[in-house]
């Protein structure tokens, strides 16, 4: 009877059951001196760590530092410390308050959230459909989900322009259904952007979700139905908790890159709206304002991580270890 609460706590088991080694215990069949052990670790883990430090940590630190410096008159970076870039980003520019950049970041986060939401709506039935197929058809179906990736993103997006243009099949069908005026194109529009985003990011959600759906214990759904839960509540209480890890992973995989996406909004949205991605590209490119571009990048990253942290907390409170 006693000690049961601890028994289910894996961290405790890990701590008690596998005491950490002192120095040179981590060996593979032979004894190593401390120096040999250190050398082996350096040779095995070293390259990976070096790669991450050189190509990820260092640039990020550089970006963070540059975001507190100042742009020179000719676009060079002057080592003058300032919060000006962040103040400017918040909307306090040379010409009084202008929420241009907060709007850009809100728009990008909104696009990421909308893409994630649409992917969930489309991906849930798809994952269940694939998992319900006879076993030999499932690899085929999964391959079909991935096939769009064999084509370049730009090509796929231009293809949507052709499909959605005035006089195209989809435009005529939409006109016939009374959704748009006859002869009007379906792009550029917000709808076209969402269609393009959904097609690009759906596989990122479907693959991890499918992995969860395939492992569902359906007797739990039967138990819920037996215990007077109707279809919707049986799903919520018996199925959803089982697929939540896959769903959370999929949403993160869609939301994070979708937030930085700007090619699809440009090509299908008519290049009239600025997203986080092209705002940053603009500063590093034509505007030659690296400090401000760095500030946008840092803030965007901070907001995405904040969002993920809140999401993981909310999901974690439902009794699931999701991250």
């Amino acid at each position: 009877m006693n000690g049961g609460a601890q028994a289910g706590d894996p961290s405790r088991v890990g701590r008690a059951g596998a005491p950490r080694s002192r120095g040179a215990e981590m060996c593979f069949g032979e004894r190593l001196t401390r120096r040999q052990h250190w050398l082996r670790s350096a040779l095995t883990s070293g390259p990976g760590i070096a790669w991450v430090v050189v190509f990820l940590v260092a640039p990020l630190v550089a970006i963070a530092v540059i975001s507190f410096w100042t742009r020179g008159a000719y676009g060079e970076v002057e080592h003058l410390w300032t919060f000006g870039n962040y103040r400017r980003f918040m909307g306090f520019g040379l010409f009084g308050y202008d929420p241009l950049y907060p709007r850009i970041i809100a728009r990008s986060l909104g696009l990421g959230a909308a893409t994630a939401a649409l992917s969930v709506l489309a991906g849930l039935p798809l994952a269940f459909f694939i998992a319900g197929l006879p076993e030999r058809f499932r690899p085929v179906a999964l391959t079909l989900v991935i096939i769009p990736f064999w084509t370049n993103l730009l090509v796929r997006t231009y293809a949507w322009q052709i499909l959605l243009q005035a006089g195209g099949f989809l435009a005529r069908a939409a006109a016939a259904a009374g959704l748009v005026d006859a002869g009007a194109p379906l792009y550029p529009s917000a709808g076209a952007v969402l269609v393009g985003m959904l097609c690009d990011y759906l596989p990122f959600l479907v693959l991890p979700l499918y992995a969860s759906v395939e492992k569902i214990d359906w007797t739990l759904a039967e138990a819920a139905a037996d215990l007077h839960a109707d279809g919707l509540r049986a799903f919520r209480h018996a199925i959803l908790p089982q697929i939540l890890p896959g769903l959370v992973a999929g949403v993160i995989l869609v939301f994070v890159p979708a937030t930085g996406q700007f090619v699809i909004p440009d090509l299908l949205g008519g290049a009239k709206t600025v997203m986080l991605g092209n705002a940053i590209a603009q500063q590093f490119g034509p505007s030659r304002d690296w400090p401000f571009g760095s500030a946008i990048a840092c803030l965007g990253m901070a907001l995405v991580m904040l969002g993920l942290w809140a999401y993981a907390r909310a999901a974690g409170r439902r009794g699931q270890e999701v991250l």
Binding site: G4, G8, L220, H228, A229, H237, A238
Partner: protein, 364 residues
Amino acid sequence: MRTDLPAIEIENVTRRFGEVTALAGVSVVIRQGEFFSLLGPSGCGKTTLLRIIGGLDWPDGGRIRIGGVDVEDIPAHRRPVNTVFQSYALFPHMTVFDNVSFGLRMKRVPRDEMVERTRKIMDIVEIEDLAGRRPAQLSGGQKQRVALARAVVNEPQVLLLDEPLGALDLKLRKQLQVELLALQRRLGITFVYVTHDQEEALVMSDRIAVMQAGRIEQMDEAEALYERPRKRFVAQFLGSCNLFDAAVEEREAANLAVRTSMGPLRVAAASAEEAAAVRDRFTLAIRPEKIALRPLGYGGRENAVAVRVEEVIYVGSETHYLLRTDGLTLRAEAMNVQAGPQGYERGQEAVAYFPPAALLALDD
């Protein structure tokens, strides 16, 4: 719920899965407050029948009434029955308390009542200390109790149990058999119990239906089913049985004079009608414990056959014998009631006596 109607009426229910016939026309009437067992080997259709009653599977034909109400169009979540699943199917992400109270919460029972009923049933099945645990932190026996509490807390008209003790070790199983029976008596709920364990069925059931290949072979009270099986399958599945071919020589009221390879025997049927229904050539059966071994020289009386003791298996409370007659091997069992060395030794000649009333004429 009307108490004058049968708890469950099943009329000619059929179910096929592709090429496999799971139920080939099953009809049963289960009475109110009864402990009713569906007994059979795996694949006989007993679990399918249970799932159909619960609404988790659908019959291809036939009717089912629960408390007099046809449930054809009533989905599982609105049927007045609950199930204890073989694998327990406890919700792994919920505490024991949330598992047990699940049905009441789904039925939107007021919170105070929900908590009170949940606590009460957890008290009855002695899991009140486990309220905050998760299923992964429970032993097999504890999971079984939680599954039971989760079902009976809803006060179903009928409780369906699908081999609920199958995953437990023998000792715990025996203990829980007694507890289940006591719980059933206390709550007065009709139990429909699926099992492949004949002893379990005999211990607990008011009535047993023995199933094979999608049909009910025989249905009766436990004692009648054991003492007077009518089918070869029932005789062998429920306990063990010696079987041999026999031919009727003469019929006289309830008595049959039959010819067997061991010589002539007299069979006393339960009634003249039953005796009249016995076919001319039939399978004769006798339970091992009904065969009485006697010393040589006991002969002269009817139904006594000379045998040689081939094997003696001492199992403590009983001794089992393998007996050889002309071309036949019989199995006999005797209780070791007296003190000191028991009965017969290997190779000894003896007489096996078959009481006429213990000889059973099987239909097939």
